[in-house]
Symmetry: C2
Subunit: 507 residues, 2 copies
């Protein structure tokens, strides 16, 4: 494909993309293809001769589109959003042309420097304390990761190494000393435990699986709104101590997957101080704040205030995904740490070929030392484009509009107590509800079956997509209104669909 062909192909692609967004509501949200549909449509091997662009473009609409589930469809109320926007697409476009494996500063200084700068912009915008800024007092800063799963894994690795460094000092320089320390580390590791709650995202359990360390999920309760409390954490810390286990890591959440619960940050800090090491003391528990989805809402000062976000300055790391609710396309997980050396000490591995004067001089950031992989894409470009194109006001508007739609939906649900029951109140554009009744003494099984029917029929309509969850044995429906393209009329349509099915079920 030469420059001329590329220009034509790209122009056609841009037309396809604009037309895709202009008409996205006319498609079904969820693909209705059968498993294995695509293998029937494609040859069994790569073509020997190159094909013209027209043939490839044709197959995108004819063969790929039927198999797409449209995460930016206005009727996408499932999971959390997976954003995209025009400025973000342009950022990705430049990035793919400037392909670079920018693991060290010198590999493309702009990739590293723009990342540091836009993450400082973001930290300020979210109201994070200064310790998470690259220019702050504690040598903290931000780094873009591929996903919240990678961020929590990175945090847990750093936490484990910090804990081992602080609790098993390295004495002496001989091989025998090193062997003795390795044995002590192995013994200690077998007692270390990572903590989270039963409402925490599965990525924390997965990170513990990868590290091969013990994991305990603290049970959260409906009466606490499924949030971790001081009492819950204190009891778990005491139980660990009684069993000779050593907690070294705790994931707290701002906006859990099931219900968007927010853990009690002040209570967590208090429990840790009372039951465990004081903040900053050797062997303190590393607290990672998973704000993957709801962290986006912190661009609004009223949310910063409501969540008392300044409290995260007592913790160690914070992560939020701009690619969920902040108009940047996947992937852009923004991970902040209070002291970059915690990452570098755990993750720096050198090789002769990486050597260069800028790194040796110590004046630059080499992000390979802040993450699991070596290479990295130019992901800050799309963040920069989105921030500049929307401006702070535009980002706030998107959060406020979609949060408002969620609140409105919950109001409508509350207005039909004959049909529905709110399970958890609307938070961050997410409402969790289930079918009411049918009678006051209906069994849990009957009520679950009823809600499940509503859920399946609503999804079968093709124009909306909802996800479900289970809370203390109660089957419940999650309706999320955070997609950029979702307007009041779409939420109204979803509500009417739900009412019609519920009324029919009740009749």
């Amino acid at each position: 494909m030469d420059s001329r062909e590329f220009k034509d192909a790209a122009a056609a692609t841009i037309d396809d993309i604009v037309s895709y967004f202009d008409n996205i509501g006319e498609r079904n949200v969820v693909a209705t293809v059968e498993p294995g549909y695509l293998r029937k449509l494609l040859p069994s091997a790569a073509p020997v001769e190159g094909e013209p662009w027209a043939a490839i473009r044709h197959d995108v609409e004819a063969k790929i589109m039927p198999g797409m589930t449209h995460w930016n469809h206005p009727g996408f109320h499932a999971f959390f959003p997976c954003a995209t926007s025009y400025p973000s697409i342009l950022g990705e476009l430049y990035s793919s042309a400037l392909s670079t494996a920018a693991f060290n500063w010198i590999c493309s200084p702009a990739v590293t420097e723009l990342e540091t700068i836009v993450l400082d912009w973001l930290a300020q915008l979210l109201g994070l304390p200064a310790c998470y800024l690259s220019t702050g007092p504690t040598r903290g800063g931000g780094v873009i990761q591929g996903s919240a799963s990678e961020a929590v894994l990175t945090a847990m690795v750093a936490a484990r190494d910090k804990y081992l460094r602080e609790t098993i000092p390295a004495d002496g320089d001989t091989d025998a000393d090193a062997d003795a320390r390795e044995d002590a580390v192995m013994r200690k590791r077998s007692r270390m435990v990572a903590l989270a709650t039963t409402a925490t995202h599965s990525s924390v359990r997965k990170a513990a699986l990868i590290l091969g360390c013990r994991f305990r999920a603290i049970r959260v309760r409906a009466e606490d709104g499924y949030a971790l409390t001081r009492e819950g954490l204190a009891a778990e810390l005491a139980a660990c101590r009684a069993q000779g286990l050593e907690p070294f890591f705790l994931a707290v959440t701002l906006g859990t997957t099931d219900t968007c619960a927010v853990d009690d940050f002040a209570g967590v800090a208090q429990a840790l101080e009372e039951q465990h090491a004081a903040p900053g003391a050797p062997g303190e528990v590393w607290v990672h704040v998973d704000a993957a989805y709801a962290g986006a809402a912190l661009v609004c000062p009223e949310v910063q205030e409501a969540t008392r976000i300044g409290l995260v300055g007592r913790f160690h790391s914070f992560d939020m995904n701009m690619h969920k609710w902040l108009l940047v396309n996947f992937d852009a997980s923004c991970f902040f740490v209070r002291d970059r050396d915690w990452l570098i000490q755990a993750l720096s591995v050198n090789q002769a070929v990486y050597g260069n004067k800028a790194s040796a001089g110590g004046l630059v950031t080499d992000y390979r030392e802040w993450q699991i992989p070596l290479g990295r894409r130019f992901r800050s470009l799309k963040i920069w484009f989105v921030m500049r194109s929307y401006g702070v006001k535009g980002l706030q508007e998107n959060i406020r509009k979609t949060t408002g739609l969620g609140d409105e939906f919950a109001e409508w649900v509350r207005g039909r107590p004959d049909l529905f029951e709110i399970v958890t109140p609307p938070r961050f554009a997410l409402t969790v509800f289930r079918m009411a009744g049918p009678t006051a003494d209906a069994s849990l099984e009957d009520r679950n079956a009823l809600t499940k029917t509503l859920y399946e029929k609503a999804n079968a309509s093709g124009k909306i997509w909802l996800t479900s969850t289970e809370l203390d044995g109660r089957f419940a429906i999650r309706l999320m209104t955070g997609v950029r393209t979702t307007e009041r009329e779409h939420v109204e349509h979803a509500f009417k669909t739900l009412v019609a099915i519920a009324e029919e079920a009740r009749a």
Copy 2:
């Protein structure tokens, strides 16, 4: 930014990209900015009001470009290439518009199915044995990872879990049984060791750091071309046994970073069989083939034959990066495993909200169970576009042309024994060389200093970029000719530059 503004902005961006590639050779390869250059040029916070596209576009050329190191510059002879191509850019463009977190099949069936299909195409194209095909006899298959580092980490986690499952049977169902097994696992883990060589990529050591497991690098020798041999591995296995350590994982390499060495696959298989468990026996060592860069060359049948690639059927996993030398932009690390259940058993973590009929039916692939992160981008699209647009012939031509340039460069180097000495012969478009003399009895330090001067002066020219390494204390220069835009004239220019500096140094 509305549809109209996006169309205009995208058209301008496409023009910028075409002009970038048309004139890339006129830029300096490596950015010459000072650390911190960008902070001086950008505001300290995100703008409150949105800005027009023209302002953003202007800043890309004015502020970002000076800080770019151009990995697709014809004079980029450093590290390995980080490819891009027009069809790949179009793939990324569609992917960013269709933003989806396709962790389960239903989240976008096309994302999962196209990935399985194009990785089957690729496995065939590389001559991998049928066990690595999704349709093969062993329930194997491929998955796209972000980088070779993630692939090796994933392989190592799966290997550790497979080893523990096979060597510590799970007896009984009681809590006491589970506790006893956990204790046994912790004891066993403290004795497990991952193996690689001193020439293996740093990502293997990093994976062991992340897992927190022991790691040993087997020393490879100049006389073996820096490749792992049967004898070397056998000796290490015996040493481990003597110390009560249990090897569970071995990384072998097709194309090491320093010199593109290829480990002796037949010898490795033989040593494992003789010294350790037979293939398929419980407790066998998992062998991961890291072909991150040179694996691309396997698209040529002559390379499949020369490397006896069929032997990897005796091993467990294989990884190569299309984003290095196969015209797909970063990231597209193609990871193949002989039995997908090894991954799923190690990495599957469920959460109520992921539940859906297709997954429950067991008929579909949920790639979240094959990787570290949960979400994933639509990366197969760019692979599909590149394979179709270039065709097999086009991919082969790119490998043969750039390998030929490397061979030619090495011939020129050999033609000036007064100035240069080949350290390792040209392999996969990489030549490693150093300064000759100046006298037959010159000290290692003097020769290193001479080569270092050549290296630094050549890079200072701005028009070429080389990387260096150190082999048994010998400072050496790596010159790689794998970039798509590199033509004979550019390699000739690099050679002439080197000769001029070397002659001046000698005079």
